[in-house]
Amino acid sequence: MERTGIDLWVGLFVVVGVAALVMLAMKVGNLGTYNVSDAYRVHAYFTNIGGLKTTASIKSAGVLVGRVESISLDTQRYEAKVVMSIDKRYQFSKDTIGKILTSGLLGEQYIGLDAGGDTEMLKNGEQLKKTQSAMVLEDLIGKFLYSKAEEPAK
């Protein structure tokens, strides 16, 4: 084959291969969906985080607003300390409630933020005061059985 023909085909091959890689990154992977370049950090304490993992999503009204950055155990209070990075575009009031929720019946756990009515907004490094821990199935069943036992026999 002519030299220019080979050049054309090889060029096409490289372009198609790189396009496949870009498509994987953007459409299949999470690179196109969210970046945390412009974010502020807040932290919150939970008595139980259940199965929450780092990079889990943070949603408010179902919209993705940030990601969980780190999880550690605070040995002063024996509670889990969760650091969240939230997009600068979304400001939340000081009395926002953070809840650990589950998407679907068996899905991933994420943090849901319910905005409050305070006029002051959360700033970088501040703490979410009100939190609600993850629901643990064993505790739930235990509570149910306990309440059943307390009911008077008919």
Binding site: I6, V10, G17, V28, G104
Partner: protein
């Protein structure tokens, strides 16, 4: 003494195997050493890219399409039992990007491009073209081996990425278009679960390692082949068998390193 003869046979085999591994390693470093001139004459690499990369395009695209479609069907059948059909996109994408893309593309690459490389170089040796080059003071590794080596390394990650991308569309076609899984959850759950660094970049690293292994094996077998018709055919077979096994073993090691701990 038959016992001594048998032990001598084992010893001979072992020494031979170690000798070949040593020769292959020396060959690999020689190739790297003589690579400079092939980058100065880049059109040699481009010519090899045509025969390794472009000529493998059709087999990669067709195989990727079918593998993705099968993943879509089988994944749907299994996920349906747990009522989580919406996770089909996650399953197809992770399966392709992490494992099937790099591994199956490398296996196809070994049998499509690797065997051709071995046969070509083996025949060059059998028809004494390589000796003729040495007579003309052209180093055969710099002129023949190095361009093919770099062409293999460049084309393998591109082919694996193409395989995964086409496969995801194959899964989309079967899952969403044919069966009727919700399109929004197919893509959004996929994007939430597939991480760029952890999944896609590790897949690219895998395909890069496989590409290096396959090309080195193919080139060495060709260069080392006995210069007879039988020798070349044996070398071609060994290329496909050895590189397939090496791909699968390397895949286990790389997977254990990348995904084993988490």
């Amino acid at each position: 003494m038959p016992a001594v003869k048998a032990i001598r046979g084992i010893g001979h085999q072992t020494i031979n195997a170690v000798w070949r591994i040593g020769m292959a390693t020396r060959f690999f470093f020689l190739t790297l050493m003589y690579s400079g001139s092939s980058f100065r004459r880049f059109h040699l690499i481009v010519k090899e890219l045509f025969s390794t990369g472009v000529m493998s395009l059709i087999i990669i695209v067709v195989a990727g399409m079918f593998v993705g479609m099968v993943l879509g069907l089988q994944g749907y059948e299994t996920l349906k039992r747990y009522g989580s059909e919406s996770a089909l996109g996650v399953m197809v994408a992770l399966g392709l990007v992490r494992e099937l893309g790099p591994v199956v593309a490398a296996l196809l690459f070994a049998s499509r491009a690797g065997s051709a490389m071995t046969a070509e170089i083996g025949l060059m040796k059998a028809t004494e073209q390589i000796s003729a080059m040495e007579m003309m003071a052209v180093h055969p590794i710099a002129r023949i081996v190095a361009p093919r080596f770099w062409a293999g390394i460049i084309s393998m990650p591109l082919l694996a990425a193409l395989f995964s991308a086409v496969g995801v569309f194959g899964g989309y076609f079967v899952g969403v278009v044919q069966i009727g899984v919700d399109e929004g959850s197919f893509w959004s759950q996929m994007q939430a679960a597939v991480d760029f660094e952890h999944d896609i970049l590790n897949g690219v690293i895998k395909s890069f390692v496989f590409g290096t292994a396959v090309t080195v094996i193919a080139l060495f077998e060709g260069y080392d082949a006995p210069p007879t018709a039988e020798g070349v055919s044996g070398a071609t077979t060994r290329t496909v068998v050895t590189s397939s096994l090496v791909i699968l073993m390397l895949d286990f090691i790389l997977t254990a390193m990348m995904f084993g701990g988490s």
